[in-house]
């Protein structure tokens, strides 16, 4: 149910082919890391999985929903697939707790009390219980990103997508966000994460996918992939990232 | 002539004492590095030397000009004292070459042809000859900073001040800017540079000044200062910077 199957997906922006026949499989409770150079199509792929971009060919099955070029029922899909962006995109006019409870209340029509309960629980999991009344601009970047994760978790998704959630953060703030994600992974969440943190990918992800020029260039168990990159592109990428 | 003598300078912002009796001597062709924690008054001191901030007490002699709390002839001083900022502050509506030749033309009333010649020479020295027709937003950060240095050099200053010119740059871009500065130092320019690059300070500066709480806390030949810091504050600072 909470698996992701991407089959031969193509995505164009105008004439530019950004995803060129991508296929990836993610089994339930699996954590897959996606790495690759800037512009290789990683973000676009995540956005396609969540229906934020349309695909032009292929098929995506995610948490029991199907996306084809003709599109599917995106709203019910999105209820079960969470996504967290690099720029946290918290709603600035709402408090932390309101940010988290808005979607459960509006989309799932959960009552205020119950939604608040869910919201507090989500905040507890990201370790920010005491910030529930604050506004986004009163939080550090790392705290904002953890709230964004909690906001996504409050919808109780079956799959979560993370797009470079730490790359706008200072090193010291990165740690707290990675910890939150690690806990999620340990709790059995199916996750796809685009990341520049090689160490983190290696340690947390069961499988790593290396994208290049809109294609899946290499994939495999993380330890293997990092330990013995086969293609020169991945070798280059790994070595330049470790510098 | 191209020496800098700062004597017992005090500078307040409102009630806040930012420079608390600072004295520094820089001899002709000497390179002095200024280090210190954020907020210790390094930028403010550079800005005072160039007359961008007024001092409330003391006296600054720079390249034959004198600044006192009553202020002096700042414009003729600034013709001979260049300053380069952390944020490059290129003029966005002018090309690279125009950025460089503007001041020679309007301040020194040099003809267009001669100014262009000077501008090209300055660009050559920073290794960006081929970018003369580009606009700032078409350049990388490192290139912009080199243009800013060339802009300052085109006024043929006797003293140059650098305020953390590399701290907004990626590591790979930092190198090219440091190289430019090193060449300047080798050519005998009198320089004061505020920097976070300890390695660079150690290697290029004849003397290093450690500022703390608006005071000169320690000063001495760079090798000595870094090798054997005397005060616990400098010890702390050096060790935390090397982390």
């Amino acid at each position: 149910m909470s698996s992701v199957h991407i089959r031969d997906v193509k995505k164009y922006f105008g004439a530019l082919c950004v995803l060129d026949g991508v296929s990836i499989n993610v089994e339930p409770s699996e954590v897959v890391a996606v790495i690759g150079r800037s512009g290789s199509g990683k973000s676009t792929m995540l956005r396609c999985i969540n229906g934020l971009e349309r695909i032009q060919q292929g098929r995506i099955e995610v948490a029991g929903h199907t996306i084809t070029p003709e599109a599917g029922d995106l709203r019910s899909l999105r209820k079960e697939v969470g996504i967290v962006f690099q720029s946290y995109n918290l709603f600035p006019h709402l408090t932390v707790l309101e940010n988290i409870t808005l979607a459960p209340r509006v989309v799932k029509r959960i009552g205020r009390d119950e939604a608040d309960e869910i919201g507090r629980e989500a905040l507890r999991r990201v370790g920010l219980e005491e910030k529930s009344g604050a506004y986004a601009d009163e939080l550090s970047g790392g705290q904002q990103q953890r709230v964004a994760i909690a906001r996504s978790m409050a919808m109780k998704p079956k799959v979560m997508l993370f797009d470079e959630v730490t790359s706008a953060l200072d090193p010291e703030l990165t740690g707290e966000v990675l910890k939150t994600m690690e806990e999620l992974a340990e709790a059995g969440m199916t996750m796809i994460l685009v990341t520049h943190e090689m160490g983190f990918a290696r340690q947390v992800a069961n499988k790593t996918v290396f994208m290049h020029l809109g294609k899946v260039w290499e994939e495999g168990p993380s330890a293997e992939l990092f330990g013995a990159p086969r293609t020169p592109e991945l070798q280059n990428f790994v070595s330049s990232s470790l510098k | 002539m191209s020496s800098v003598h700062i004597r017992d300078v005090k500078k307040y912002f409102g009630a806040l004492c930012v420079l608390d009796g600072v004295s520094i001597n820089v001899e002709p062709s000497e390179v002095v590095a200024v280090i210190g924690r954020s907020g210790s008054g390094k930028s403010t001191m550079l800005r005072c030397i160039n007359g961008l901030e007024r001092i409330q007490q003391g006296r600054i002699e720079v390249a034959g000009h004198t600044i006192t709390p009553e202020a002096g002839d700042l414009r003729s001083l600034r013709k001979e004292v260049g300053i380069v900022f952390q944020s490059y502050n290129l003029f966005p509506h002018l090309t690279v070459l125009e950025n460089i030749t503007l001041a020679p033309r309007v301040v020194k009333r040099i003809g267009r042809d001669e100014a262009d010649e000077i501008g090209r020479e300055a660009l050559r020295r920073v290794g960006l000859e081929e970018k003369s027709g580009a606009y700032a937003d078409e350049l990388s950060g490192g290139q912009q900073q080199r243009v800013a240095i060339a802009r300052s050099m085109a006024m043929k200053p006797k003293v140059m001040l650098f305020d953390e010119v590399t701290s907004a740059l990626d590591p790979e871009l930092t190198g090219e800017v440091l190289k430019t500065m090193e060449e300047l130092a080798e050519a005998g320019m009198t320089m004061i540079l505020v920097t976070h690059e300890m390695g660079f300070a150690r290697q290029v500066a004849n003397k290093t000044v450690f500022m703390h709480l608006g005071k000169v806390w320690e000063e001495g030949p760079s090798a000595e200062l870094f090798g054997a810091p005397r005060t616990p504050e400098l010890q702390n600072f050096v060790s935390s910077s090397l982390k």
């Binding site: - | 160039n50 260049g82 502050n89 301040v107």
Partner: protein, 239 residues
């Protein structure tokens, strides 16, 4: 109501209407030249000048922005003669509308001046430029670029605002219209024709602003390439 539109009688007066349009054009151009000059000077006075001058400019700006142009027009034309300042109708119209535009453009220019980062000004000063040189070479063009849509929007409102000058016998398009109307008694047709001319004039002026923008900012991308996308801040209306 079966009302038949008859444009014939109105169009017979085309020389008068054309003359009115030309007068509107001239009055607008003069007003804009004078008003923008006032606005620029007042904006610099307010940002860079002494305190008392800034206060004076504030009073001027607020007084003109919070009262209707028509009332200002009456005061200039009928009121100023009482203190010995008498102007012809065309002069009074020019003066009143220019002062009105001046007040609005003061605020626009000021916003532009304030939008230029302080670091840019410092970079200029640090190179030994005088304050005026900094404004002239470093501030003006980027500031103008920022405010260009708002400024040209205000100028459009000024063009339309000249229609009010007919109240005090200044000769322009709307006054030509009322002459035609009084001869023919075909008011609806007259105003339709005039509306079309105003729309034409407005679009012509906008196109001119666009061309001027292309030239002014020729070195970089023009501020708003799409004529239809003009993003004006309708702070003021001439009418």
């Amino acid at each position: 109501m079966a009302y038949e539109l008859q444009f014939g009688p109105v169009l017979k007066f085309w020389p008068d209407i054309a003359q009115g349009a030309v007068n509107t054009l001239v009055l607008s151009a003069e007003t804009i030249a004078l008003g923008v000059t006032i606005g620029l000077a007042a904006a610099i006075a307010r940002t860079d000048g002494p305190r008392w001058l800034g206060a004076l400019v504030t009073v001027y700006v607020e007084a003109f922005r919070n009262t209707p142009l028509l009332v200002q027009l009456f005061l200039v034309f009928f009121g100023l003669p009482l203190i010995g300042l008498s102007f012809s109708a065309d002069m009074a119209a020019l003066l009143a509308i220019a002062l009105n535009l001046g007040a609005y453009s003061t605020e626009i220019f000021r916003a532009g001046l304030l939008a230029i980062p302080k670091t840019q000004i410092e970079a200029g000063l640090a190179l030994g430029m005088s304050r005026l040189q900094v404004i002239r070479y470093i501030v003006v063009v980027p500031a103008l670029r920022i405010i260009y849509p708002a400024l040209t929007g205000q100028l459009t409102l000024t063009l339309l605002g000249t229609s009010i000058a007919s109240a005090i016998s200044a000769k322009e398009l709307t006054s030509a219209a009322s002459i035609v109307e009084s001869f023919t008694f075909r008011s609806f047709e007259t105003y339709l024709v005039v509306a079309v001319i105003y729309i034409g004039l407005t679009f012509t002026f906008r196109f001119l602003y666009y061309l001027v923008g292309l030239w002014l900012f020729r070195r970089r991308k023009p501020p708003k390439p799409d004529l239809l996308q003009e993003d004006l801040d309708p702070v003021g209306s001439g009418a």
